[in-house]
């Protein structure tokens, strides 16, 4: 798993990548009350706003860590946005993206680099 400066995690499964937010981010956000997800088939460039998380505090964006096409979204979050707080790494994933250039994954932060960022 790799990480971004925006406190997202990216998990590689072949050329498909699953994206969510880190435990640290979910704690900082507070209770999540709504998640506005993209649709399957949507195309994004690196850095685009892909989804919006509304917490009890404020709204924040999920930013595309790599360019590609959405191939699956986590429908469970629509009815149960609290999964983002309860289990941000497993059940609280947001969407899966088929990368235009899987090599972009190598540019993301390692676990060690991310831990340094938040410490």
């Amino acid at each position: 798993m790799k990480y971004t400066e925006d406190h997202e995690w990216v998990r590689k499964e072949g050329d498909t990548f699953t994206i969510g937010i880190t435990e640290y981010a979910s704690e900082e956000l507070g209770d999540v009350v709504y998640v506005d997800l993209p649709e399957e088939g949507d195309d994004f460039s690196t850095g685009d706003d892909v989804a919006v998380i509304e917490s009890v505090k404020a709204a924040s964006e999920i930013i595309a860590p790599m360019a590609g096409t959405i191939v699956e979204i986590n429908e469970e979050l629509v009815d149960n946005p609290a999964l983002v707080n309860e289990d941000p790494i497993e059940k609280g994933w947001f969407f899966k993206i088929e990368a235009d250039d899987p090599g972009e994954y190598d540019n993301l932060m390692s676990e060690k680099e991310y831990q340094e960022l938040i410490s």
Partner: protein
């Protein structure tokens, strides 16, 4: 700038609270339970809030004058009939500007020999300066800096708190009781800022932790952070000064004319005589251009303070602005309030609020989304 700390600062940290700067204080925004559960806990059991950052002000007579003289001075600043308010009774009151705006909203209690005010933390200094410059030569104005303030709110607040202080069980909404106790001198009002029954307890700073520990030992009561305090008050339709009301919003636009005592209204014996009366009287006669209303977004996406309200789904005109918005954990959906052009309110028009992707349809709603459970 160094942040002030309430007497419960260390206690909050030991409870695992997340602390944030608020109105010059380091305050608990949430506890490990999390905002939604804290909100629900308050509405279903009981919550205790450290609101010691709020200003507690005592106003005493001086130079051989009596409480009745102070009452007159304060009636020149506040649109209430303080003269006919009973002793040990509390009232919600507005400090008004010459333009009918709102300097602050306060809770005022008439004691036998002084007047007790609780004011918003963010306005404390401005209120003190205002009081000093207007009536400071005629009375003694003292900020009670060494006292803490705890709000205990929820359907079980009375049952739980009266296990420590049995005499407060029979109090009614806006009654006040001052007493000597094992925690020192307490001044307790039956009031709050959540729409629930409960108390606000002014307590010496040095016994506030002991009292809090005793409360928590009784069970079914938890400390609640500022984030849940905000969603609770918003869901109950209570204004937050600085968000929903301020010097630029008139008492009438804000829908707070109910707080003006009947005796101070047109045609009554103590009509007017407070800042902004002439302006407000004109607004009463001619109507206002905008009104503070509850707003219920359709769907689940919250709207937030500052968002613009339109009369059409696309293009159209700006007809209002959200002042507070968030998630109401009890109604399990987004709730908000904001100013909307009076014409649109009268027509009960379909309205739309700016959103990230598209405008969000919203309906005008009662400001209070949950009803009150005060003990009248």
């Amino acid at each position: 700038m160094d942040l002030n700390r309430t007497p419960l600062n260390e206690f909050h940290k030991l409870q695992g609270a997340k602390m944030v700067p608020f109105a010059g204080f380091e305050m608990p925004v949430q506890y490990p339970m999390g905002t939604i559960k804290e909100h629900i806990h308050t509405r279903t059991k009981a919550g205790v809030f450290d609101v010691s950052h709020m200003g507690q002000i005592a106003i005493y007579p001086k130079g051989g004058e009596s409480i009745n003289d102070i009452v007159k001075y304060l009636e020149s600043l506040l649109p209430i009939d303080l003269e006919n308010l009973g002793f040990e009774k509390q009232k919600y009151a507005l400090l008004t500007t010459e333009n009918g705006g709102i300097i602050d909203d306060v809770m005022i209690t008439k004691k036998k020999d002084y007047i007790f005010l609780i004011v918003n933390a963010a306005n404390k200094q401005e209120d003190l300066d205002y009081l000093h410059s207007n009536i400071g030569s005629k009375c003694e104005i003292v900020e009670l800096k060494d006292r803490a303030l705890l709000a205990i709110q929820g359907p079980q607040a009375a049952e739980i708190t009266s296990r420590i202080l049995p005499e407060i069980y029979e109090m009614r909404f806006l009654d006040v009781m001052e007493m000597e106790s094992e925690f020192g001198n307490l001044s307790i009002s039956r009031s709050g800022y959540t729409g629930e029954d409960g108390y606000e307890i002014s307590i010496p700073g040095e016994t506030a932790v002991d009292f809090s520990e005793r409360l928590l030992s009784l069970g079914n009561i938890q400390f609640i952070g500022l984030a849940a305090r905000d969603t609770l008050r918003l869901e109950a339709g209570l204004c937050l000064h600085g968000n929903d009301i301020d010097k630029s919003t008139s008492v009438i636009e804000a829908g707070l004319w109910w707080s003006v005592s009947k005796a101070r209204r047109p045609g009554n014996d103590k009509e007017g005589g407070f800042p902004g009366y002439d302006y407000l009287k004109t607004q009463l006669r001619d109507g206002v251009e905008r009104m503070l209303v509850g707003l219920k977004p359709r769907g689940r996406l919250p709207i937030r303070g500052g968002n613009i309200i339109y009369d059409h789904e696309t293009d159209g005109h700006e007809v209002g602005r959200v002042t507070s918005g968030g998630y109401g954990a009890t109604v399990q959906g987004p709730v908000a309030m904001g100013y909307v052009n009076a014409d649109e309110v009268r027509k009960n028009s379909a309205l739309y609020c700016e959103g990230r992707r598209s405008r969000i349809p919203i309906d005008i709603h009662l400001r209070n989304f949950v009803g009150n459970r005060f003990k009248r």
